[in-house]
Symmetry: C2
Subunit: 192 residues, 2 copies
């Protein structure tokens, strides 16, 4: 997605340790009009997939999922990272190691809202080592729901996540595939 | 907002301890088309307020904020509850006691994205004791930004949050004001 790559080049900040900060439009301050473009692009790629639900994980994924669901007119379900009084005990769970938080989280969804026969599109802001998507795929498979594919806004294509998810038999669509990043020279993309 | 009150009556579940679960459309599974109606209603109430930014707090507030920002065409900023590599050290912080999580969180925003002279609409899914809104107002005031008002989807009007926030000199708009709730008899609203 050219407009996304342009925006990452213009506004993204690269820090040592392969950290790409896009907190100006994606995961802190949200450019809602631009996110609608992102949602339209995911819709274009998955319009024929018979999607009945979009699954993501709190927190940054929620904005991406809602912007996309507005085109599909299907519900969003966001997996939770902690148990609250707002979620029942009757949940599916999966373990996810967070690259950004340096922790291991349990993600969970109520069984009530993820059921057999659904056709689920899984969305997230970033794909790096694939742990988050792997956890979300696990939740769907526990429920007997079919994963029609994954969509991520930014992929760190030099990590193994893309291959890992495809190895699980799941289609992956990344709107920007980062080939390399460097604090001095910035970001390059796979198809540059 | 009549359609919201109807939906709460139809789909909300009341548990002991004044817990109202609306995880079927608001804070776990998200009814995106209905959230657009909620966003339109906040826009109707604040259209003339000169809003330049919408501030909320992760996670459930994000969907409400994005749905509303789509009408205002302004950016969303969501306060974070934990420090990640995605946020700089240069932040405003405030302490917030969470009713649902039974914890005290520090919420934070990057100083870069909340600045003097902005006109901020603060949105959240629930208003109970007002702690979350109070924290978000504090972030704005530290930045020298003006809070044009708060908007909440569901208010527990039998708690002190509404009065607390108005006592800080801030307008509060609640789309549904719950007067009482009971596991047996359900929910009543202030204007029933």
């Amino acid at each position: 997605m050219q407009s996304l790559k342009d925006k990452i080049r213009r506004e993204g900040k690269v820090y040592p340790g392969n950290v790409l900060k896009v907190d100006g439009f994606l995961n802190h301050r949200i450019d809602v009009d631009f996110l609608a473009e992102i949602g339209r692009e995911f819709y274009r790629r998955y319009a024929d997939a018979g999607v009945t639900k979009i699954l993501t994980v709190e927190a940054s994924g929620i904005a991406v999922a809602c912007a996309t669901a507005a085109f599909f007119h299907v519900p969003v379900l966001f997996a939770k990272k902690s148990k609250t009084v707002n979620i029942s005990d009757d949940v599916y769970t999966a373990e996810v190691a967070s690259y950004t938080h340096k922790t291991v989280n349990t993600v969970m969804v109520s069984r009530e809202y993820l059921t057999a026969g659904e056709r689920v599109l899984i969305l997230d802001d970033f794909l790096a080592n694939g742990a988050a998507l792997q956890g979300l795929i696990s939740l769907c498979r526990q429920a007997g729901a079919e994963v029609v594919g994954c969509g991520v806004v930014i992929e760190k294509a030099f990590q193994q996540g893309h291959a890992l998810i495809e190895g699980m038999g799941v289609r992956v669509e990344s709107l920007a595939r980062v080939a390399s990043m460097d604090p001095e020279t910035g970001v390059t993309f796979l198809d540059d």
